[in-house]
Amino acid sequence: MNSPLMSFQQRVSHALADGQLRVALDRTTERFTLKRVAGLASLPDADVVRDRARSIRLHTLSRLDEYLEQFEANVTSVGGQVHWASDAQEANEIVLDLARSRSVKRVVKSKSMVSEEIELNQALISGGLDVVESDLGEYIIQLAGETPSHIIAPAVHKTREQIGQLLADKLGVPMTDDPVEMTATARSALRDVFLQSEMGVSGVNFGVASTGSLAIVTNEGNASLTVTAPRIHVAMMGIERVVPTLDDLAVMLLVLARSATGQKLTVYTDLLTGPRRGDPDGPEELHVVLLDNGRSRLVGTEVGEVLACIRCGACLNACPVYQQIGGHAYGSVYSGPIGAVLTPSLDREGPWHELPEASSLCGACREVCPVRIDIPRMLLALRAETVRSGKANQWVRIVFWLYRIAATKPRLFRCGVSVVRQLTRMFFVNGWLLRLPSPLSSWTQSREFPVIASRTFSEEMRDREEGSGDE
């Protein structure tokens, strides 16, 4: 993963200062959240289904090597080819080699987080290929030269006016802010791309071990076209995305769309089992690129559970931090609570140790996760790792060091509280402190600090106990 140019603090400040982004985030996250609730309500027993979905994922991960081998054998038996890639570079080279050896010039892509993770587009474009994203949101951000800011709604940070202007500038169509017209423009622009590309690159939602089928879901139908018209289909898949059987797949599909957009099922759920067999269309060749890129190392570790994620995006919408700062502030393709766990876990050398701090640990992410991933537990584990490795902020370490001393010595604690109380009383205005000296000033820059209560909880308790003793 490429390191971002700005520091995490700078990215957050940048996001918070962007008024349009805040409006876009407010609208979207709230709408997604409401739709998810309605979607799950349409399941007779959503909790039981989620439990089952979770156990399918955990079971698969606990025997991942066996299921991967089974999946590979079945993909091969239906005429597909499986390629294993240890890291981003190897995966990109595999795709580039496939394209070169088959004289491919044009590549059409449907949305794939794995390809964003390994920056496949840049690799293919540097290799001299034309690459066009076909998901409407991805197409928009590709035209704008940006990266996605939400797992399932990549252009969520852009307003309709900005998109209208972008299409006018890049495609030379008249400026409009009507989503229907803009969508029609994209439809006609992308038609030729689908029909003339020699290679279609897609992601994979689930790979079915027992049949070697790939399940790919979209609402637009762009993945269906991507894997049908071009001669070669290359499917990019993380090694964790296997499910054992078709029955298991059916359970996962019950919760995926409901958690993502609130739909019962996405419009297009395609199951692809090998290349065409005497059909008048469909790909001649099917290649599955199985990407590791740091995943296998996580199996069996404290953060291994993150591999159960099915990329629905529900935790992003539910997160009070994501709701404020949006996806780009996280600096990597995976944003929100799941990104704060996944990014530093996959890329241990990268500058990501601050991401797990971007959480209030409120637990909303765990609450909405269709497979009940315990994200807060893993955020804490990663924070502890940061402290152990000496990367933590100095001030935070000093404060917690002082706190540990005070908290283990009650007399010292009481004494400290009364000193701080006296200090704060000297400066408060209507019960609030408006300004604190550095480094505490970073708190008061954006909000007030409450004055410490005139009586502490333990003082109150002591008085009560003494009072009741008198009676």
């Binding site: 992308l190 139908g221 019962k264 419009v267 692809l272 065409r276 469909g282």
Partner: protein
Amino acid sequence: MNESRGAILERVRSGRLGAPVESRPVLPTPIPTKDSSSLLDRFVQEAETVGAIVHRSDRRELSVEIVLRVLGDAGVNRLISWEPNDLPIPELTKAAVDNGVQLVSPPTPAKAKTISREWAAMATADAGLTGAVGGLADTGTIVLCSGPGRPRLTWLLPPLHVVVLHSSLVHPTLSAFMEECGELFRCSSHVAFVTGPSRTADIEQTLTIGVHGPKEVHILLVDHDCNPIKESEAAQAATGSGETGDRMSKNDLVQ
């Protein structure tokens, strides 16, 4: 490549050693009883909720009439159709042609070893005509599978998709369908579950219909005798693993 394969599998294996193996979840997916009248009502209701248009017919002549009317109302001049034998009602193709509609064929005939990928002519079609191998009542979904006479682009490229579904093929849920028709996935390289017309909400969450796939999906849900699509592997698979194909043949016998 083989090096990576070994290394990845080895890392996964060594990671999971020591970690408990999670037990295989039992999947007794509750399948509601197949009360056919309410099942079909549910299918119609759900399909209409996601924006499909459902027509029902209990007579073959009526079915042909409905399809011609849908094509006529949409002003269809050019049609991609599955091979007549792959349609539940084979005479539909001829009826459309007799009605002045021009047929657009895939650039290469079925079963050819290599195919030309000149899709431009197909892209000019105004409508696609297919037959479903299944329906899912609780989501309003139709199930389509590719094959020699069943090009996939038929349900993807044109702005209008007309699909014929026999009522005996409607299953309560996706899980029930997987259980009964699992063999289908071994015979067809592209099985599509289609739930309503193509849609997007990528611009400010505004729902827009027909972004890449069809803007309109018309489902003709029929109760009368149908062609059991005998030529296709799909029907054989369905007959082999479930009651669906049998029901259709029984209907034929009654006729």
